[in-house]
Symmetry: C2
Subunit: 551 residues, 2 copies
């Protein structure tokens, strides 16, 4: 099964899309007809360009509203198809994708539909071409893969086969397993897309929010497994309509799509071994790093040789560079992991290394999670990089901040040995601060003790507004004495069904702040309720720093 | 009825939100509690700041999940409310907004709910406070204004009244008319929000896409009319959750909100008279304008004195300035209009002047529409400015372009005397060109004749790819001879139910291109099907210009 991508996944003009697909190592493309119609390349030029790039044009798509209860209209639709057959000949394409009709005159009767498909099939066969028929999830009568297969089967024409698309099956909770029973010779085309679960109509979700396999919430591996069992040997073809991809760098998008297919082929998620964050590497001008170093020392970190600072199993590396302090690299140790390096759109690099040492004794500090703010519109890309490394998305949250709504997407490895909290403003406007918010959160078993020690050592702790504690007293049954200790040491407290999360943080140095985190019980969250308080406090601080810097 | 705005409508920290509300002339705010909890201002400081700004704090909101089928939980909720009463005293607020419960233990029985509301009312009254009760459209049991009014009525407590919100009524197609029958003394609070019609769940729509009255599709004037007839004399309060507003400039947002209320109060839409575009004013460096002038001359425009060029009733003014050519100002004549000037986020200014001259004789060129590209995320703002001038939104479209999905929002005056086509990329990425696309489209009755004349005069017409005409031949029944003429002169042809739109355009000079448009029959559109072809061609051209400029 080779790799193919539909031109509609990418941005730019058609030539740029083809270049990007080839550069990412795709062997084939699906030509989205709109991209040709708006292009100034002739069909012959497109054919030559694809040939020169080593790209096969897998099919032309989509052909809409073929069937009709009106014979006149069906005849007109056939004439329309003839025009496309002529175009396909010029392009050197042998397959046309016909999608189930959404028109009012669509055929409800499967027998008649199969007949009309066979008529089209005969005309296609006359030109040496084939028809792949696909059910749109919002098709008027045909909207499941089973219904489209029934029509294809009954059309009983060698030039008419089935196209299945993971999105149209899974986004409406269809069952893909039966695809394994479709004869491979009748399965002409397989399209893949994933999608998040968003409370919107399946058509709206499809047009704006599809993502590459692994970036959403659909069980694409199960779909591909069914396809594989059918004996299908054609390419897996990405067909993703996504607002961000359509506006993004086409080469980055194509390359992310390619990685997604590689991951899928490698058997889905890796990282079934033991995992942990090995270290976080910071960079920045020496003066900026000196402030960080001083704070780490105040938190009890010790020099671990060279540029490393260590507290228990938590290691931070300070790599001199330029500018304000920021995270340059996160390093994951995974006993089942494969060595890899993935640069992210947030400017950090995710490194995976094999884990060789045994598990850490409990009670020592560790890296609980790393929080990274990602540029608006590039969260999915960053999420995919972490999924590739074995992280699995946890429940996403949306949080009101002074700079706008912030989407937080936490991910964790299967053994919860490593966690990352990605966040991104839904919209970037004038209230946003250019410096992202990055946090290295250390896990410990006595956050109040750590807070007391930090206070004694003069660590600059991020102040929490009194309003927070007053609200906490209203909405929880926490003893007043506990609340007053939390308040004294600027500790945030999030109670959940599973347990509780206690934490306090330092101010940010450049982009980077530190947190001490204590998980009580089966706590698996990241402090959703208190997050707006911490983020607003960091935002105030960053703005004040900025004002000072520009004054 | 005064003007109020909820702090959640705006971006920034609480202090900035208050400043913005005051600067826009609001008399009151609703304090969204989250904005206080995350603030480092104490309640007393907020009170003083509001007093200094001349802002009354209308209410604290929202208090969630009050009622409960479990007596213990209800008792706990009352204690939570006591804490908020204490807070309100410090803030100097006398009203708390209680929203209908979404919790599993919410009370289904209206009698019990009314009892629990009365208990809360008594406690509030003991502190000199009041409770406004509001139905959320997604409330577990109470999700219509009628149900909330029934609970309030049966609670029969002077300190318990009703809050109605246009969004919660209209977004689920509720009927607001009955609100006129609610005794004014029991109507404690009125919140206003509009929303577009988007295919998504009412909660998702509410949290991300609410807009100010007049910016969406809901009949807020009808809602306000019912409120007015009830005898309500309190403030109209804007409560809008919107991703763009939350990230935007709080002063611009507050000022747009204020204009929205002014418009609403003035009796809704103006512009019921005769309307027409009077002129479009371009600016740019003298050299850039010379190219424009040359092209206008080629199109048959004549010098109309000073900096004006005229063809029939179409007038373009060339105002020397700096940089590439662009639209500086559009001037609408409206026989019922009030003189106004509104700067838009796209850098153009919309001017309304009274129309005094009689209607133009037919057959002459006129300004059919002006197309303006607006920065991503600021379409609603620009739409409001045009609604204020009497434009009404027509059906929006989303169009795939090389730079990403483009949303096109056309608006027209009631007599179709003037039209504007606003567009905005949903996401701005690296494929976007910094120069916006602006078009002045002239209406004429013989576009093929005009195209022939333009060709003869050497006007630089924007080339349309051959692929477009080949597709046109496939999907329409147009005679081949007509298609070949269209193709010869680069004329786009859009067939619709109402008629047809024929047009051709010049290349863009800086940001500005010209179009000649012919509407056949009852055509009311803007060439949705051919728009991607034209936009892609402009995009190619702009990118080529850019490459030349930087080479």
């Amino acid at each position: 099964m080779g790799n193919s991508i539909a031109t509609v996944c990418l941005s730019g003009d058609l030539g740029e899309r083809l270049d990007a697909a080839a550069a990412a190592g795709f062997e084939a493309i699906e030509l989205f007809e709109h991209d040709l119609t708006t292009s100034d390349l002739t069909p012959e030029e497109v054919r030559r360009r694809c040939a020169a790039l080593g790209l096969r044009i897998e099919m032309l798509q989509p052909f809409r509203d073929l069937d009709s209860t009106s014979p006149e209209r069906f005849a007109r639709n056939l004439r329309r198809a003839d025009g496309k057959f002529a175009l396909m000949e010029r392009l050197g394409i042998d397959m046309l994708l016909v999608v189930s009709s959404v028109a009012e005159d669509a055929v409800a009767d499967t027998g008649l539909l199969a007949e009309q498909l066979a008529v089209l099939g005969s005309r296609a066969a006359g030109c040496g071409l084939r028809i792949a028929y696909e059910a749109l999830a919002w098709g008027r009568h045909v909207n499941t893969w089973e219904a489209s297969w029934e029509a294809v089967r009954r059309s009983d024409h060698p030039a008419v086969g089935l196209c299945v698309d993971s999105y149209h099956v899974l986004a409406v909770d269809g069952n893909p397993d039966g695809i394994a029973g479709v004869p491979a010779a009748k399965l002409f085309s397989v399209q893949l897309a994933d999608a998040p679960r968003l409370p919107m109509h399946v058509l709206q979700l499809s047009r704006h929010h599809r993502v590459f396999p692994g970036q959403g919430a659909l069980d694409v591996p199960r779909f591909v497994d069914a396809v594989r069992r059918s004996g299908f040997r054609g390419p897996l073809s990405l067909e993703v309509f996504n607002d961000d991809f359509r506006a993004g760098d086409p080469r980055a998008t194509a390359s992310a799509g390619r990685r997604s297919l590689d991951l899928l082929r490698a058997g889905g998620l890796q990282g079934r071994g033991e995992t942990r964050w090995s270290r976080v590497q910071l960079t920045g001008a020496p003066g900026a790093l000196a402030d960080v170093d001083h704070t780490l020392a105040g938190l009890g970190f010790v020099d671990a040789g060279g540029r490393s600072r260590r507290h228990g199993d938590a290691v931070v590396v300070l790599e001199p560079g330029e500018g304000p302090a920021r995270i340059a690299r996160t390093v994951l140790h995974d006993s089942a992991g494969i060595r890899s390096r993935t640069p992210g759109p947030d400017g950090t690099e995710l490194v995976v290394e094999p884990l060789t040492a045994p598990a850490a004794p409990s009670g020592r500090w560790s890296i609980d999670h790393v929080a990274l703010q990602v540029p608006t519109g590039r969260l999915a890309e960053c999420e995919l990089a972490h999924r590739t490394a074995g992280f699995v998305p946890q429940r996403a949250e949306e949080i009101g901040t002074p700079a706008g709504l912030l989407r937080r997407q936490p991910l964790a490895t299967h053994d919860r040995g490593a966690r990352v909290l990605l966040s991104s403003l839904l919209v970037t406007g004038p209230a946003a601060v250019a410096t992202p918010q990055q946090t290295v959160a250390f896990g410990c078993t006595d956050v109040l003790g750590a807070a007391r020690a930090a206070r004694a050592a003069g660590v600059p702790v991020l102040p929490v507004p009194a309003n927070y504690y007053e609200d906490l007293a209203c909405r929880t049954e926490l003893p007043p004495a506990l609340i007053s200790v939390l308040r004294e040491f600027d500790v945030l407290y999030d109670l959940s069904d599973g347990g509780a999360l206690l934490r306090f943080g330092t101010i940010a140095f450049g982009a980077v702040g530190f947190e001490l985190v204590q998980r009580v019980g089966a706590e698996d969250g990241y402090g959703e309720l208190s997050a707006p308080v911490r983020i607003a406090a960091l935002h105030r601080r960053q703005r004040a720093d900025l004002r000072r810097a520009t004054a």
